[in-house]
């Protein structure tokens, strides 16, 4: 049943319980890494081949002199214009009938070009299988008409799941509600970037604060194709001219 799905992650509702991380690992049979304990509550660290959801904890000083937590459950954005899919040389990365971005484990050969391309630090290389791995949007659950495990487990409905258009509507309404309540810093991320993300976020700070490139910096790898080839071509031409010049017979003078 083909449909266009999306996540809407409302960070104002996230309590940092990490139920999404646990549900994701349970469903997708991801053993995870050993936890790394630093000076914060984030012992997951980053999105990678084992962590397909990552609850970020950001401490931010408030106007009243206290400290506020900004928490955000990060995930693959399933970009409409996906950098990973663009560079993948084997066509292992496909767009599914749900309009999500999926790495076919039977096709991927572990070249890691997608990791170099992904602007969101989402994909990781799995040493055990030799494959690039990331969130599948619970492709198997979608096919069985179930919602992704993370959204199912989220106790505060910070992670919402549904048709992308519905999610856009919900996100817009929530933004208006918060702005109406005087939360001027509230903003939506993902409606413009990369042709529209399939994971929208309601943030209360700049995107950069959550490790998300702002709209200006959300650019595709192919932006460098033409000019880099052009630079090579000009260099090649100059090199050939130099070689011809150097190889000319100088009548035995040298």
């Amino acid at each position: 049943m083909a449909r266009t799905v999306g996540f809407f992650t409302d960070t104002t509702l996230c309590i940092g319980c990490k139920a999404c991380e646990v549900a994701c690992k349970e469903w997708n049979q991801l053993p995870g890494h050993a936890p790394a304990f630093g000076d914060g509550y984030d012992n997951t660290g980053q999105l990678d081949e084992q962590n397909w959801r990552h609850v970020q904890f950001h401490e931010r000083p408030t106007a009243k002199g206290g400290v506020a937590w900004n928490m955000m459950s990060d995930v693959c954005k399933h970009c409409a214009q996906a950098s990973c899919m663009e560079v993948c040389p084997t066509n292992a990365i496909i767009r599914t009938e749900f309009d999500t971005v999926y790495i076919q484990p039977s096709v991927c050969n572990g070249c890691r070009d997608c990791i170099a391309a992904c602007p969101y630090h989402v994909i990781g290389f799995d040493e055990a299988s030799g494959l690039a791995r990331k969130c599948t949007f619970c492709y198997d659950r979608l096919q069985a008409n179930l919602m992704p495990a993370c959204a199912k487990a989220c106790p505060t409905e910070s992670i919402k799941f549904g048709d992308l258009d519905t999610m856009r509507g919900v996100a817009g309404a929530r933004l208006n509600q918060l702005r109406g309540q005087g939360m001027s810093e509230a903003r939506l991320y993902g409606d413009k970037e990369y042709g529209g993300l399939h994971a929208l976020f309601l943030l209360t700070d700049k995107p950069e604060a959550y490790g998300l490139p702002n709209t200006e910096n959300a650019v595709l790898p192919r932006r460098n194709n033409m000019r880099s080839y052009l630079g090579s071509a000009v260099t090649a031409a100059l090199g050939i001219v130099g070689a011809v010049f150097a190889f000319r017979d100088r009548g035995g003078k040298e």
Binding site: D48, P89, I115, H121, F125, S232, A236, G242, A243
Partner: protein, 287 residues
């Protein structure tokens, strides 16, 4: 400054050596082709030497690339779609283009190698003579130069810091490829006691390639702007010093003398500098 929130692809030593040897092989073939096209019979042995050297150097490249894969046995997925068994080609993905260029250039390198091998005995080309032979090496040289340069494009067509913040890497690697190829051929020609005129020509050509490389290095850093400050860490600075020694010292030595030792030393420094350039660009962006 551009924002990057990316994971490194863990392209390491296999890729460093592939980039180096690919540039060397592509550059060597191109120089062999140009020498042959210029038609000076005294240069024929060095041109032949270039074609003889290209194939064995090139043959290492696919081995390195295959070993670097997470699933080496699926190397053919780069060329053939494993689901439809149709050909896989994405002109907008430099890795896809590069896989094909490597394959096609290998065929040219193989034919030119066999021809050079055949002409070792008879003294003249056994096949691909005349206009056909000239067209053949021109097309082969195109793919060789493409191989030397596309590796820089591959790095830039990503979202990695440094790599994607410049458009000069393709040109820089290509110029460096020509330079290391000229140095390697000078070295082998010296060891094999070839015609001195060809050797002087190679040395002269390397001077132009060095100027080209230096100019591109300046363009590279200018295009990076503030991003380039990442290279200020001591370990990267040390490698850049090696790169600069590999460019400047041979340049001065070539200007000063054609005596045996300095020419050999210049060639070795150029090769080491070319390798250091790839190490610092590949590792410097990922750490």
């Amino acid at each position: 400054m551009p924002q990057h929130f990316v994971a490194p692809p863990q392209w390491e030593w296999y890729i460093v050596w592939y980039f180096f040897l690919g540039g060397l092989a592509g550059g060597a073939y191109a120089l062999g082709a140009i020498l042959r096209l210029m038609g000076d019979q005294r240069d024929a042995p060095v041109s032949r030497l270039a074609f003889l050297a290209t194939l064995p150097i090139l043959a290492i490249c696919p081995i390195l690339l295959t070993l670097d894969l997470g699933r080496p046995l699926r190397f053919w997925h780069m060329l053939i779609d494993s689901r439809t068994f149709g050909l896989n080609f994405k002109y907008w993905s430099p890795m896809s283009v590069g896989a094909w260029v490597l394959l096609i250039f290998s065929l040219f390198a193989l034919v030119s190698f066999l021809e050079a091998l055949g002409s070792l005995r008879s003294g003249r080309a056994p096949f691909l003579t005349g206009a056909l032979g000239r067209v053949f090496v021109i097309v082969g040289a195109f793919f060789g130069l493409f191989l030397a340069g596309y590796t820089g494009v591959l790095l830039s067509v990503s979202n990695q810091p440094i790599w994607s913040d410049t458009w000069a890497l393709g040109g820089l690697f290509l110029a460096s490829g020509l330079s290391v190829a000229a140095a390697a051929l000078t070295l082998v020609a010296r060891l094999g006691r070839h015609e001195e005129s060809a050797e002087a020509k190679l040395s002269r050509a390397d001077r132009y390639f060095t100027i080209l490389e230096l100019a591109l290095l300046v363009v590279f850093f200018l295009s990076l702007g503030a991003v380039g400050t990442q290279f200020l860490q001591p370990r990267w600075l040390a490698l850049w010093v090696v790169v600069l020694i590999g460019i400047l010292v041979p340049f001065v030595l070539q200007m000063a003398s054609v005596r045996r030792t300095p020419v050999m030393l210049a060639a070795v420094l150029t090769l080491v500098g070319g390798l250091a350039l790839r190490i610092v660009v590949i590792f410097g962006a990922q750490m």
